[in-house]
Symmetry: C2
Subunit: 544 residues, 2 copies
């Protein structure tokens, strides 16, 4: 996920806080120390290229490009390269780490430097789409092409940036007429903090479910670094929305809780002086928030993540330690709560980035109310788990009032669908969040989710992020068969299109969907897409 | 200087040697140890950019480009760069070393990587000529443009290759719309092994001579690394021809003899198994000869360099230690010596690279005989210095016979010029080497050198390398005023065109002359151009 720029109003809103005191002044140092203490150790392994491939145009292949085997890798090493000039290698799996290669001369010794372009791709199209056609928005430097000068031959060169890829294209940009050379070694020092091996699914499990789980685990593993990253290619950082879903996947697979704990403390320690959580923090070169990058529902999902964490671990101490943060986030909702229990969506829209999905034209009023109620409910559950319900004793009544108001404002009895007060758009997001917040009764939810499939002009999910909540909503309404069917068709659809890890954006009907209007910029190993492992493990009776 | 490819016949000639014994087998290890022991220590200093410049087209400027001051350097550091996108900085002097820079954000923190192109130039035109138009010959990777991805901001980045430059152009290739950034530091860690400070010329010295000497010293200093390099930009290695002239300059300026001694031992230790010196050796990644890169007169000039070295230092021990090498090089001449004292130029041409100058169409028969006689004479002088004349007692008679034959074969009494037996080309090279070998009497030499200036269709020098020998020839003939005048007009001409260090190739009438058919590939700080310091110091009565 990547921030949009919606800062002008936020800056106006929050700049006053720069002058005011730091809400957590006495806590921060301790929180940052605990974040450091819980930094997971990285596990390294050496990965080598597996085969030589060609990437050829194929209109039936994902994004129009197909990788085809050319020959085994022994046809690459120690072979004259000067006249070959270009090659594509396949490492056979998605890898996150540091890439190095060694070159040596053939026959006579070297008299001058070499120059290469290396292009790394998570999917084939990244190697075949000229990067320089991307001009606007987030940094083009995320795209993984590196120009390397090799001054001395033989030598071993390490590309300084951490890379995430399966394929690498090597282009020779300069050499000497005097000598030929070859590659003698090529290694990616792969890294992840996922050290545990989850138990295997029963042999009786549906093969596609097994495959989906495997790819989910790979996705999560690749994103588990020293924080839960959103994507190891881009943007290599912790977002609360990704934390929520990764932590959920981890609770049911690797069960490594140091990384979750570190993320809680980092986010708290780097929260805004006004007490609100910043949606994303960046570890390098030193841990820091992405200033003023506030995202409404992400701040709230911190509390929901903590609730799941306490249930998974029994670690009430962390929750108690960070309770001031969670209590403070409740204020965010209260700022927009009107006396009748409805929410001032327009005001919130001016003051916050409200996300839910990468989907142009999505109208978010309904989901906004839903997630607010959901956050209150999750926080109250958490408060009960850690004996703090007295401090949030107002929540049950508020939840009741808000639920009633949302139902009244958004439910269309005739169609059985939830739509906004001002905009009648029928969206997945609206129905999903009315179910998850339990504004919709189970029966209403079931009817609404089913109605989506027969209605016209429906706003569909654009990412696996919203699709996760869709599956959860189906489960919550008891639409178990549909939940399994949708999980298989959506995540299985990516696998059928060649996914080694699940993608940031996926629309079964549009291979080129991109939040950045440039599909090579998408992350193809994305945290928020890892949740099938959670569903498959948490609900074996439905999914296995 | 840079090798041409003339290997096919050489390979045929010498490959048999691969099967035979190593001529210096018992010596090599000791020689390489002594090379290592005499490796000079590098002296480091920090250089910072001095000003912001523009490089603008100007048909009257050297190679059509002129650097113009824009503003002082404080207008660069800590200034927003994102919208500026491109800048050229001037370090104010030629520097050899490792370049680093630091970037930081302005106001909000960074959310993504930066991508830059850095282009380093010794002269302005290098920054303005697209490098990718160069396709053939030596490696385009010598050209100093580097693409750098900066993944984290703030950070400090060191460009891995050693650079040689005065100007750097920075182009921003990618950034994020979200934040702006600035450069906070920029340093080149300059390196040289020149540690001594030569005494200053008397205040009465001609200002242009003082300036020429200063630029000579800078050129030599920049080329003095852990060997005498030919050029710190390209090809960063020891060639015997450059060693001869650099050592000569050093004998009259820095007087640091460890580097000279190291070069003698390296060349000996890395000579061919057949006993002949290879014209060039490369230090990195491990010291090695550039295999089979034999160059006729360079092998011979090793002996001449040693003679000068013994005179400068009194270090007979080194000369005695390496005497077997020098004796062996004499064979190279003897292989082409005919019974009447003339030389078989055609045969030698087939078997050796015979150089003398980068000059298309230069006919080398006369110079070839000249340098052969010169080498015999210098070697005999050396033998006398170290008490080895008995071992080369054949030389005086051979010199006499060869001198007589050359005079007979090449001297045209009518014109007073020396020309080839088969090709009557009138060249500077021919006259010069007839003077230096003393085939021409002083009077004949004077007449010949003067006649060059009034003859038609003369083949002029293409490089300061041959021009050095021209000045020496003028001095040897007693044409002192002309020597000074030519030194000032040639090397001073470079200064008038903006040289901070002297160039590899210089033709006063053609700014674009290039041995590589691409002037940005030229080295603009080139060892063999440093010799004015030698002339000015050795012959103060002429040049000061």
């Amino acid at each position: 996920m990547k921030k949009t720029i919606l800062l002008s109003s936020l800056l106006t809103l929050f700049c006053l806080n720069l002058l005011s005191q730091d809400y957590y002044e006495s806590y921060r140092k301790g929180w940052m120390e605990k974040a450091e203490q819980n930094k997971p150790k990285l596990i390294y392994s050496e990965k080598k290229p597996k085969q030589i491939v060609n990437i050829i145009p194929n209109e039936n292949a994902y994004q129009g490009w197909e990788a085809q085997t050319v020959s085994p890798i022994d046809q690459f090493f120690n072979q004259p390269f000067k006249n070959k000039k270009e090659i594509i290698l396949d490492f056979g799996e998605h890898i996150t780490g540091y890439f190095s290669f060694s070159v040596n001369t053939i026959s006579v010794s070297a008299d001058g430097p070499l120059r290469f372009k290396f292009t790394f791709g998570e999917v084939p199209s990244e190697l075949m789409t000229p990067f320089d056609s991307y001009k606007e928005g987030i940094s083009r430097a995320w795209l993984q092409d590196e120009i390397v000068t090799v001054m001395h031959v033989p030598s071993t060169i390490i590309i300084p940036r951490r890379l995430a890829f399966r394929y690498v294209k090597i282009e020779l940009l300069a050499s000497s007429t005097y000598y030929d050379f070859c590659f003698t070694d090529m290694v990616c020092k792969a890294q992840t903090s996922a050290r545990n091996t989850p138990e295997r699914l029963p042999a009786s499990t549906d093969p596609m479910i097994r495959k989906i789980e495997e790819v989910s685990l790979n996705t999560l593993k690749e994103c588990m670094q020293t924080v839960y990253e959103d994507g190891p290619k881009r943007d290599q950082r912790l977002w609360i929305g990704d934390l929520y879903l990764e932590s959920m996947g981890n609770n049911y697979s690797f069960k490594q809780y140091d990384i979750t704990k570190r993320c809680f403390y980092l986010l708290a320690g780097l929260s805004d002086p006004n007490g609100y959580l910043v949606a994303t923090v960046i570890e390098n070169p030193i841990p820091r928030p992405q200033d003023k990058q506030f995202l409404y529902e992400y701040a709230l999902l911190y509390n929901a993540t903590m609730k799941d964490y306490v249930i998974a671990t029994g670690d009430k101490e962390t929750a108690l330690d960070l309770w001031p943060v969670m209590k403070k986030q409740l204020e965010i909702v209260k700022n927009y709560l009107l006396p009748d229990g409805s929410m001032d969506f327009d005001k919130a829209s001016r003051e916050w980035w409200i996300f839910f999905d990468w989907k142009d034209g999505l109208y978010k009023e309904v989901a906004f109310s839903g997630v607010s109620i959901f956050a209150f409910k999750e926080t109250y559950e958490l408060a009960k788990l850690i004996g703090k319900e007295d401090e949030v004793s107002e929540l049950p009544a508020l939840i009741k009032k808000m639920t009633k108001a949302a139902h009244k404002n958004f439910y269309d009895k005739k169609t059985g669908l939830f739509v906004g007060a001002k905009d009648k758009q029928i969206s997945y997001a609206s129905q999903i969040w009315m179910v998850l917040s339990q504004v919709a009764s189970k029966a209403e939810g079931k009817r609404a989710l089913e109605a989506l499939e027969t209605s016209e002009n429906v706003c569909h999910p654009g990412t696996p992020y919203l699709y996760h909540y869709y599956i959860q909503a189906l489960v919550d309404c008891g639409l178990n068969e549909k939940a399994k069917e949708k999980l298989i068709s959506y995540w299985g659809g990516m696998i059928e299109k060649g996914a080694d890890t699940f993608w940031e954006a996926y629309d079964p009907n549009n291979d080129y969907i991109s939040p950045y209007n440039f599909h090579p910029m998408n992350s193809y190993c994305h945290a928020w897409s890892c949740t099938p492992v959670y569903f498959i493990r948490k609900y074996p009776e439905i999914f296995q």
